[in-house]
Structures are given as structure tokens and as C-alpha cells.
């Protein structure tokens, strides 16, 4: 289940905002895209996830497991995304947030078993009934990732997910996120401006703005 | 012998007719059973609303008719609606089955053929009505023609605070003297409100050189000459009115609070019992009494009518008949209930019915029938518009 970007470029009012991107990300691999602010990193992610703003036009193709994502709507792509804000739903408890992501039509008991297991892996056992806003920044980040992974994405996009965390937390969360992705064996695309965020051995792509 | 035969035959004919008549009314009562009558009437007085509610309850029990009081702020709204229905060719199931009406509104409905009837002559209690009163045959000088059924009488009375006014005015010139001495303590509602127009009609009837002119259609050429004394009077009066004549109360109802708060010392009303009623109700203090001018004051009547497109005409007629009954009229005349004078001729009433009226308490501030005397007739209906227009030109700038 690899994620491929073939000659992908995004046009705004006729002119491309960065050079065409060619990328193949294999399952379990994390590719990082770096570049200065405003170079279009987030726009690129929105194109891959399927929520590109109407002001932009897409050129090239996005292939997930060989299938062209061209005119596939967002809800059908199964490409997850993680933001720098955890965006946990404030009106549900942690358990509710996680349960929302579970697709399979299984019983409540089975669902809570899955949730329990997931919380264990993050070291947050017993947090189901907690109010999201009572959690610390690091805890919220972990829950957010768990939630995205519970939805069994075929690929995961990460939009500067660690930028709001402080240094000590960053390292911890980073390793947690990377290990989970490897465990789930899905391709991941990370966008950041912090070189320290790049995983060991992962490919790094610099996004360049087209001149002229 | 021949004469005897004639009398005998006419008696038989009469009994046939009354039988047929009674049969006719029985049919109407039968048809009326189960009908819903939407009675559109002014809803500004809780007392009147309560009375209508009582009447509806009695009629429900006795005749199986359901009366729904549709409260109207201004009966003109209702006329308006019926007109729209006519324009839309809604000839049945009209929204109004019976309405409380008189004067110009009646004229409008009659002229635009919005009324059902004539019907009041068929109401069994109609024969008790005091048909000697001209105002029951001519509504603001427009012939009634049995197109509306009488409900109550009205006469312009003035009210005053006995604590503040020792000797009340006897006529318009006295009123002017009073106003000069007590600046700002008298007023009348803005034209074209009902009470306001009546006040200037009253003033005109007192000041005009020949009151008989008023019973005739207004003549444009002589209008200026005939009404000169009225405008002179008002020109003199206005600077001494409440708010110096720059502001007028919107309606007669507003004047009650003004009197209560002593913003004015003299007010007016169209119901001789309304002051007693208000005292009873705590709206006015017990020091208020009523009076009329020595030459008499204008009086008229109010009625109920049935629109052409009602689909509960029988129910409406039965209800209108009930409103004419001695029981309903006596209760209506009771100042502790409403205090609206009856349209029935006391002389025509049988013993027990007459007793009902004898039992009606006299309002503490109400003038006796003798004191009220014979009311003055309304001027010809054409005078209303002419006077209103001229008043607006002069004073509504």
C-alpha cells in the first residue's frame, strides 16, 4: 500500500507554486517535506488528503496502492491527517473520541476492548472517561494520533504535528508517532520546518518555489 | 257579520304566519346547532371580553353554538379583511360570522354590499326593541334596513373630578371658560378617532346657527360659513388644552388614565355607565362623576351584523337574538358587569323581564334616564369626513 505522487504540482491562477513533486513512499516509510513558510507545504497536504481549496488546481496524480485518487472525494480516500492542534472533540470524552474513529460494525464491548488496547500502547490506560481538556499537551497529541490510526488509514499525513510541544515532549511524542506508523505499516508524509522532526533514515524532500 | 268574519280570518292568517314564522325560526335554531360563530368585536376592555365570554357560554349550553370572540383592535381591520375576501371571490366560509359595528364602518359595509340580510326583523326578540329611538333605525343617519341588529345604546357624557371641579360646564362656552381657568386640564382625542370626532360634532351642534342643517347632507359651498363658529371656538380653546393642543390622546381609552392621574380634570365617554364601571374596577377614583350639556348630547347605537360570506349565518342569528334577550340586555346594562345601556323598550317587557331591569344597580356616577334626557341625533354621515378633513388641515400640521 504505497503512496505515490507523480509529477504533482499545484497551480494558483495559472502558475505553479512549487516544482513538480515525484515521490514514492512505501509502507512503514516516513517521508519528510521541508521548506520555508508559505512555500505550499500545507497546500500539498490538502491536495493529497482531498480537501484542496477551489482556488488551486491540481496537476499530476496521486496514487494510493496503485489507484488514482484523482476524483475521489475526501471521505472515500482513507488518507488520514494529523495537525499541530490535537483537535479532539471537546463534547466527547476520550473514549468517545476514539470510538468515533472505529469503522467496523462491532459491538460496544468489542469497541471498548480495542480502545483499551490502544490506550495501553500510549501509556494512557484508564483514560476513557476523561474530559479531553483535562489532558496535558503531550497526552492530547498521543490520543490524537491514536484516533487517526484507529480509523485504519491507508496513508497518514502529518502537518507540523509537533510544533506546539515543548522540546522534551517533542522527542518523546516523535518517537511514539514514528513507532506507531511503522507498526501499522502505512506510508506517511510529514511536513515540517524543523529539521529535528525528520525521522532517522527517512527521505527528505525540499520543496522549492518555482522561479519566474 | 262581515266584520266578524274579517277579524276571524285575519286572526287565522296571523296565527298561520306566526306559526310559519316560528317554524322558520325553529329551522334556523336547528341549523345553528353545532355551528361555530366567529364573533369579531373590539377586545380592548376586559369587562366586555368577559361579558362576551359569558354570552358564549350560555349560548353553547342552550343552543349548542360555539361562539369564538375574535378580538379586533379596530373593527376597520375586519371590514378590510371581508373586503379582501370579496375581492378574492370567497363567497363562502368567510372568516367572520358576526361583527360588532356601527357608524361609518356600517356604511362602508353596506355600500360595498358586504352584509347579509336583511335579517334582524326575523329575530324573535326584535319586537322588544325600542324602535321609537331614531338611532336604532338610522345608524349615523344611514338607514339600517334590518342589515344590522341592535346591541346597545350610547350617548356622549362628560366626566369630571369633583375634587378639582366644583361647578361643571353646562355647554361649550362654559367649557372654554373652564379651560382658560384650568389651562391644560381638558382635551379630546385626535381626529379621526371616534371620540374626538364626536366631540367636535357635539361642539358644532351647539354652536351652529341652525342645527337642522346637520341632518342634511353637507353642502360644500356653505361648509365654511356653517362651521365658522366651530373653528373659532377650537382656535380659542386649543391653547388652553392639555399639552397646549400640540399633542392629542390617541383614543378615548387613553383619556381614562389621564383623568385618573389628574392630567386632565374633565374627560368624555360614550357609555353613561363607563365611569361607574371604572370606579368599580379601580381605574378611576370615587370622586369622578358624569354630566351632560344642558342642550343634550349626541347619542347613537351600536349593532351586530353578519357578513355576506359567513357560513354560520344561522348560528350568528341565534347569537344575535340572544344578545337582544332581556336576560342578556339586563346583564349588559349592569354597571358592575359592563354598563352598556339596553336597546329594549322597558314598556314592552313582561313582568319578570322588567324585574330584571329593575334589579340592575344604578352606577354611582351614572346619570338617571331623566337626567340623560333625549339624546341629540347624529349629523348626516357626510359631515364626518368633511369635518375630519378640515380639522386635519387646520390642526394636524
Amino acid at each position: 500500500m504505497s503512496l505515490e505522487l507523480e509529477n504533482l504540482s499545484i497551480l494558483k491562477q495559472g502558475s505553479a507554486i512549487f516544482d513538480p513533486v515525484n515521490l514514492v513512499i512505501r509502507p512503514g516509510e516516513i517521508t519528510t517535506i521541508m521548506g520555508p513558510s508559505g512555500c505550499g507545504k500545507s497546500t500539498l497536504l490538502s491536495a493529497v488528503s482531498g480537501s484542496l481549496d477551489r482556488a488551486f488546481t491540481l496537476k499530476g496524480s496521486i496514487l494510493l496502492n496503485g489507484r488514482n485518487m484523482g476524483d475521489c472525494p475526501m471521505e472515500k480516500r482513507n488518507i488520514g491527517i494529523l495537525f499541530q492542534d490535537d483537535l479532539l472533540f471537546p463534547h466527547m470524552n476520550i473514549g468517545g473520541n476514539l470510538a468515533f474513529a472505529i469503522q467496523e460494525k462491532i459491538s460496544r464491548v468489542q469497541k471498548s476492548q480495542i480502545i483499551d488496547k490502544a490506550l495501553k500502547t500510549a501509556g494512557l490506560e484508564g483514560f476513557e472517561k476523561r474530559d479531553p481538556s483535562s489532558l496535558s499537551g503531550g497526552q492530547k497529541s498521543r490520543i490524537s494520533l491514536l484516533r487517526s490510526l484507529l480509523a485504519k488509514p491507508s496513508a497518514l499525513l502529518l502537518d507540523e504535528p509537533f510544533s506546539t510541544l515543548d522540546q522534551t515532549l517533542k522527542a518523546k511524542i516523535r518517537s511514539f508517532v514514528f513507532s506507531q506508523i511503522k507498526k501499522m505499516n502505512i506510508p506517511a508524509l510529514l511536513v515540517t520546518h524543523d529539521p529535528k522532526d525528520c525521522p532517522e533514515g527517512g527521505m527528505i524532500l525540499n520543496l522549492n518555489k518555482e522561479e519566474g | 257579520m262581515k266584520r266578524f268574519l274579517l277579524i276571524f280570518l285575519s286572526l287565522i292568517l296571523l296565527s298561520f304566519l306566526s306559526q310559519a314564522f316560528a317554524q322558520g325560526w325553529d329551522d334556523i335554531e336547528k341549523k345553528a346547532k353545532g355551528q361555530i360563530v366567529y364573533f369579531n368585536a373590539w377586545g380592548g376592555s376586559q369587562r366586555i371580553n368577559d361579558y362576551i365570554q359569558w354570552a358564549g357560554q350560555v349560548v353553547q349550553k342552550k343552543y349548542g353554538i360555539r361562539v369564538i370572540h375574535v378580538k379586533a383592535t379596530d373593527i376597520g381591520d375586519v371590514v378590510s379583511r371581508i373586503l379582501v375576501e370579496k375581492a378574492a371571490k370567497k363567497l363562502q366560509n368567510g372568516s367572520v360570522d358576526l361583527m360588532w359595528i356601527n357608524g361609518e364602518n356600517f356604511k362602508a359595509m353596506k355600500e360595498n354590499k358586504l352584509l347579509y340580510g336583511p335579517f334582524s326583523q326575523n329575530l324573535p326578540y326584535f319586537h322588544l326593541v325600542n324602535t321609537k329611538k331614531k338611532t336604532l333605525k338610522f345608524d349615523f343617519t344611514v338607514p339600517v334596513d334590518n342589515l344590522e341588529s341592535p346591541w346597545g345604546m350610547a350617548q356622549l357624557v362628560f366626566s369630571y373630578d369633583t375634587n378639582r371641579v366644583s361647578k361643571h360646564p353646562q355647554n361649550m362656552s362654559d367649557l372654554l371658560v373652564f379651560a382658560r381657568k384650568n389651562s391644560g386640564k381638558f382635551t379630546y382625542p385626535a381626529i379621526p378617532s371616534f371620540h374626538g370626532t364626536t366631540f367636535i360634532k357635539q361642539a358644532l351642534s351647539e354652536l351652529i346657527h341652525d342645527p337642522k342643517i346637520l341632518s342634511q347632507k353637507v353642502s360644500q359651498s356653505d361648509f365654511e360659513k356653517n362651521t365658522r363658529p366651530l373653528w373659532d371656538f377650537l382656535d380659542e380653546l386649543h391653547p388652553f388644552l392639555w399639552r397646549k393642543g400640540k399633542v392629542f390622546p390617541a383614543s378615548g381609552s387613553q383619556m381614562v388614565s389621564l383623568l385618573n392621574d389628574n392630567e386632565i380634570f374633565i374627560s368624555m365617554s360614550f357609555n353613561p355607565n363607563s365611569v361607574s364601571n371604572a370606579i368599580e374596577n379601580g381605574e378611576l377614583p370615587n370622586t369622578i362623576r358624569t354630566y351632560i350639556h344642558e342642550g343634550g348630547t349626541i347619542g347613537n347605537a351600536h349593532f351586530v351584523a353578519i357578513p355576506f360570506n359567513s357560513s354560520a349565518k344561522q348560528g350568528a342569528m341565534v347569537f344575535a337574538n340572544f344578545l337582544l334577550s332581556p336576560m342578556a340586555q339586563a346583564r349588559k346594562a349592569d354597571p358592575t358587569i359592563w354598563g352598556d345601556p339596553s336597546v329594549l323598550a322597558i314598556g314592552k317587557l313582561a313582568g319578570p323581564d322588567k324585574a330584571l331591569f329593575d334589579a340592575v344597580p344604578k352606577g354611582v356616577a351614572t346619570l338617571t334616564a331623566d337626567e340623560l334626557g333625549q339624546s341629540l341625533p347624529e349629523p348626516h354621515v357626510s359631515w364626518v369626513q368633511a369635518l375630519e378633513k378640515e380639522w386635519l388641515k387646520k390642526y394636524s400640521k
Binding site: S51, D53, I81, F89, P90 | T73, A108, K246, P249, L392
Partner: protein
């Protein structure tokens, strides 16, 4: 088989609303334009001519009437807008502002007529303020003959309009503020040395103004065409134009209907002209105010007036609340004459009577209000969802606040919907309702509850949209995107994530819609064909009589209904989300 994605299907909401509003108003206008040209066959007028307009302009006192209408309407609008801007500038963020945020809902729920009755009694020469100092300080044993109420120039009406419109505009501005980054702007500009008041006046309010524009137009339209407040507080000889038109409609002489039609068209014309004038003012202000905005002055005269402005704002709220208090006292009084400050004798009679007789009208009001607000909510959310998704603006930003630029695109779209939604607020009710009445009677749709509810919804929708759109549109798109990925279904996300998160603003908007329905008088009267009495028709009816006490009871019952809804809008989220700190904001 062409697959239509969900987004496009949502277009039925704004389209439905546009069609509903356009047809209603156009139909109504035709029903007014024809009689104004002397075409009203039912009373025998079939010759189209301009004679009616001639009569209109030559009606005695018409010039004064028009002048008074323009004076009170435009002055009130200018004063209230300026006052709102100044007040926000000096009070935002401080204790007074926080107090305002809490008190806004109940104050907004007070119906216009009830307020006018109480306010009238407060300032009348026989009213409470004078009674407070009589006869001790003034020696008055009878009320002075001063023109404090119903003055010929309409000043008392203007003041009352300002008091009533002030909370409404504050509410709208509060909603619009969510669209801007207030904190950041204040921080940056204060660091540059500007005082808070100046930042508001020079930067924030000009940026907020486009969001407020249509609401300001609505205020202008209302001030020019108000009827109930004008009857109670405005001049009587001559009255303002709207009151005159109403008198003509109800005049026994049916020919006056033609005059009424011409008058109401003229009133509409005045409204359009005033709105256009204000729009021109806005455009020229952009040019003329620029030097003032960029002059770099660090001191502002407004700072001197700070206490006065705050005081004025407080007075407005106090006056509004006192007007209700007065009604409460009246409702329990038996005898209350001048110069007594409190009633001489008290009673419960009127409450006993009022509660019983008002039961049926209250039920009608609750059902009609609830239904029209609910339907209004459906349509509002439908239109907003369409606006939000029509541009496919989703993720792509990674800084808080930056996704606002994409939301601006949504706002462009909603601008066009806005115009249609505001239509019922900009055309004076009396202008098109009479035409609607005729149409409904022809179509045999008058007198049905559905029609009544529909006519209420015409006015409920715009206000609900005003109340909800700003907050709804600033909902973080990334949350919905995240949720759509997780939940796989747009409708599931809408009903389990987005709407529950927006519960508070949604309930608030519902309460607003409900109170708008409660306040409707002319639609109930004209469309209901006398079959429906709401608490408001009861209040207006009893107000045409003389008994202030029973009037106060009805007015207070009328006031309670929206108040209950607002209370629920506050309590329900608290109960549902008592243990969710993130939902307490």
C-alpha cells in the same frame, strides 16, 4: 449516471429560501403597487391613474408626517450606531462589557410594545420619574403639562428606538467580532502606543463594519417603519407615516385603502433611499476618514468621554429593565394615582384573570414560535453548510487564524445569500403584507396554521441567520475535515460532531428566532384571518383599551416566553456538557 456529490445537493437550501422570499415579497408588492395606481376592482376602481399619488401628497399634514418619520428614523439610526461603536471602543474587555455579555439575552427578549408601554409610563409627566420627586421636590400635586411624550417632533420616539436597538446591534457586533483576531490586533497596536479606544475606532470597527452593514440597514428600515412604538410614543397630530398608513388601511372609507397602498410604497421608497444614503456615506467615509486613521495621533478625544459613554450604555440597560419593573408593579396594582410612587392598593386579581385567559394564546404562540424557529434553524444551517462547503475550503493551513482567509471565500458566497435573507427586514411589513393577504385569500390558504407559521418564518429566518452565521462560519474547518476522515460520512459528522459542538450558538439563534415570532403582530392579523390569537395580538388588543393593569399582565406574559427560551439556551448546554470543560467557552 451522473453522480451528484453531496455538496451540490445542499444548494436546495439557499435556493428554497431565495424563492420563498422573492415570491412572497414580489407578490406582496404587486398587491400594493396596483391599488396605488388606482386599480382595486373590488371597490370599483379600475381606471389606472396617478390620482391616488396626488391625493397622498396633498393629504393634510403629510409633509410633517414624512418629516417626522425621516427625523426620528434617521436620527435614531445614527445615534444608536454611533453609540454602539463608541461604547464598544471604551468598554470592550472590561467588567462592564462582561456584564453586558450576560445581560444581553434577557434584554433582547423584551418585546417592543411592552417596552414602549413601560418606557412611556417612566418618562410621562404623570410617570414614575416625576412621581419620584413629587410632590416633595417639585410641589406637583397634579402632573405638569409638559410635552415629554408623544412630542410632535418625535424625540421621545427616537430615544425609545435608540434604547431598543442598542442591545440588538451590540449582539450583532459581538457575533461579528469572532471573525477577527481582536486580541492580536489590540496587542500589536497597543505595543505601538495606541490606546484601546483608538484601536477600536480606527482599526477594528472599520474592519467589522462590512459584517454589520446589513444589520444596520435593518435597523434603519425598522426605525423608519415602526408602528407599535410610534403609536405609543410618537406624535399624534400628525402621526408618523407608518401609523398614518395603518389608520388608512383600517379606515371605514374603503377608498383610503388606495391611499394606504401609495403611502406604504412611499415608505418603502424612503427606506431604500435612506439605506442608499448610508451606503454612500460609508463609501465616502473610506476616503475621508483615511487621513484621520493614519495620522498617527496617539491621543484621542474619545478618552475624555469614556465615563459619559459608559454611563449612557448603562442607562440604556437600566431604562430597559425599569420599563419591565414598572409593568410588574402595574400588574399587581389596584389603585395607582399620581403622585403615588407605589400603588395605594394592590391586588392579584389581574394576574389570576390574565393567566387563565392567556392560556390559549400562549399555546398558539409557543407552537407557532417553536415551529417557525425550528424550521428557520433547519434552513439557516442548510444555507450555512452550503456556504461553508461550496468552496471546498478545508485543511491546508497550519496556523491558527490563517484558515480565516479561506473562510473569507465562504463569506463572499454568503454575501449574496445575505441580501435575499435580509429582504423581509428591509421592506416595511405593512408594504407587502397587505398584498400577501389578498394572495392567500385567493389561494384559499388564509386562516391555516401552516400559513401563519410560514408568514412568521419569513421574519424569523433573517434574524436567526444574523445570530448564527458569524459563529457558524468561523467554526474550525480542520475539525470537520478531521472528523470526515475519521467518520467517513458527511451527515454523521454534521450531526454527531459539528452541530453538538455548536449547540450553544444554535440554541441562542433558536431563542432569537422564537422571540421574533412572538413579537409578530401584522402577519398574525393579516394571515391568520382572525383564527389565531397569540399573546402579542392580545397585548395589542388590550392596549387599545384603558386598563394598564391587565395590559401589564399580558405584556409580562408576552415577555416571559422568549425569556424562557433564552434561559434554556443557557441552561441546556450547561447540563449536557457539565463535565466538558472544552464546551464551557
Amino acid at each position: 449516471m451522473i453522480k451528484i456529490p453531496v455538496q451540490d445537493k445542499r444548494i436546495i437550501f439557499p435556493v428554497f429560501v431565495m424563492i420563498l422570499f422573492c415570491t412572497t415579497i414580489v407578490a406582496g408588492l404587486i398587491g400594493t403597487i396596483l391599488p396605488s395606481l388606482n386599480y382595486l376592482p373590488v371597490i370599483g376602481h379600475t381606471q389606472v391613474s396617478l390620482s391616488v399619488w396626488f391625493d397622498f401628497f396633498s393629504y393634510p399634514g403629510i409633509q410633517t408626517s414624512i418629516f417626522v418619520t425621516l427625523f426620528s428614523g434617521i436620527t435614531a439610526s445614527f445615534v444608536v450606531v454611533s453609540l454602539v461603536f463608541l461604547f464598544i471602543s471604551v468598554s470592550h474587555g472590561n467588567a462592564l462589557w462582561k456584564f453586558f455579555e450576560k445581560i444581553l439575552s434577557p434584554v433582547l427578549s423584551i418585546p417592543h410594545a411592552a417596552f414602549a408601554v413601560g418606557f412611556g409610563f417612566l418618562i410621562a409627566p404623570s410617570g414614575w420619574l416625576i412621581r419620584l420627586v413629587s410632590p416633595l421636590l417639585t410641589g406637583f400635586n397634579t402632573p405638569p403639562d409638559w410635552i415629554l411624550l408623544n412630542d410632535p417632533a418625535g424625540i421621545s420616539l427616537t430615544i425609545a428606538l435608540v434604547i431598543k436597538e442598542f442591545p440588538f446591534l451590540i449582539m450583532v457586533t459581538m457575533g461579528a467580532m469572532g471573525q477577527l483576531d481582536i486580541k492580536k490586533t489590540l496587542f500589536v497596536a497597543r505595543a505601538l502606543g495606541y490606546k484601546k479606544e483608538q484601536i477600536w475606532l480606527k482599526i477594528l470597527i472599520p474592519r467589522l463594519y462590512p459584517h454589520l452593514r446589513l444589520s444596520i440597514f435593518a435597523v434603519i428600515a425598522y426605525s423608519l417603519s415602526v408602528v407599535d412604538m410610534a403609536i405609543l410614543l410618537g406624535p399624534s397630530a400628525p402621526s408618523s407615516l407608518s401609523v398614518l398608513i395603518l389608520k388608512w388601511f383600517n379606515d371605514p372609507d374603503v377608498n383610503f385603502k388606495l391611499l394606504a397602498s401609495a403611502g406604504s410604497l412611499f415608505l418603502f421608497f424612503i427606506v431604500l433611499l435612506s439605506i442608499f444614503f448610508v451606503y454612500l456615506l460609508e463609501r465616502s467615509a473610506r476616503v475621508f476618514l483615511r487621513p484621520w486613521i493614519t495620522n498617527g495621533n496617539r491621543s484621542s478625544f474619545v478618552t475624555l468621554f469614556k465615563p459619559m459613554i459608559s454611563f449612557t450604555g448603562i442607562c440604556i440597560i437600566i431604562f430597559t429593565i425599569i420599563s419591565s419593573v414598572i409593568l410588574v408593579i402595574w400588574s399587581f396594582s389596584w389603585q395607582w394615582r399620581f403622585p403615588d410612587f407605589l400603588p395605594a392598593t394592590w391586588t392579584l386579581k389581574f394576574w389570576a384573570k390574565g393567566l387563565v385567559s392567556s392560556f390559549d394564546p400562549v399555546m398558539t404562540t409557543l407552537f407557532t414560535g417553536g415551529a417557525s424557529a425550528f424550521l428557520g434553524l433547519l434552513l439557516t444551517i442548510g444555507c450555512l453548510e452550503y456556504a461553508v462547503n461550496s468552496n471546498q475550503n478545508r485543511i491546508g493551513q497550519n496556523r491558527i487564524g490563517q484558515n480565516k482567509t479561506l473562510q473569507n471565500k465562504a463569506k463572499n458566497y454568503t454575501k449574496y445569500i445575505h441580501y435575499f435573507l435580509y429582504l423581509p427586514l428591509l421592506v416595511p411589513q405593512i408594504t407587502f403584507m397587505a398584498g400577501i393577504q389578498l394572495l392567500l385569500v385567493i389561494m384559499k390558504m388564509d386562516g391555516y396554521w401552516i400559513t401563519l407559521m410560514g408568514s412568521h418564518m419569513l421574519f424569523v429566518l433573517p434574524y436567526m441567520f444574523i445570530a448564527l452565521s458569524a459563529t457558524y462560519l468561523s467554526f474550525d474547518k480542520r475539525v470537520t475535515d478531521q472528523a470526515i476522515f475519521l467518520g467517513r460520512s458527511y451527515t454523521r459528522v454534521l450531526f454527531t460532531i459539528k452541530l453538538p459542538m455548536l449547540l450553544k450558538p444554535i440554541l441562542f439563534s433558536f431563542a432569537i428566532g422564537f422571540s421574533v415570532s412572538v413579537a409578530q403582530y401584522i402577519p398574525t392579523m393579516l394571515v391568520g384571518a382572525g383564527r389565531f390569537s397569540t399573546i402579542t395580538t392580545e397585548v395589542v388588543n388590550i392596549a387599545s383599551g384603558s386598563d394598564r393593569r391587565i395590559m401589564a399582565v399580558y405584556a409580562l406574559i408576552q415577555q416571559c416566553l422568549p425569556l424562557i427560551m433564552f434561559a434554556m439556551a443557557i441552561i441546556i448546554p450547561k447540563i449536557l456538557y457539565y463535565n466538558r470543560k472544552g464546551m464551557q467557552v
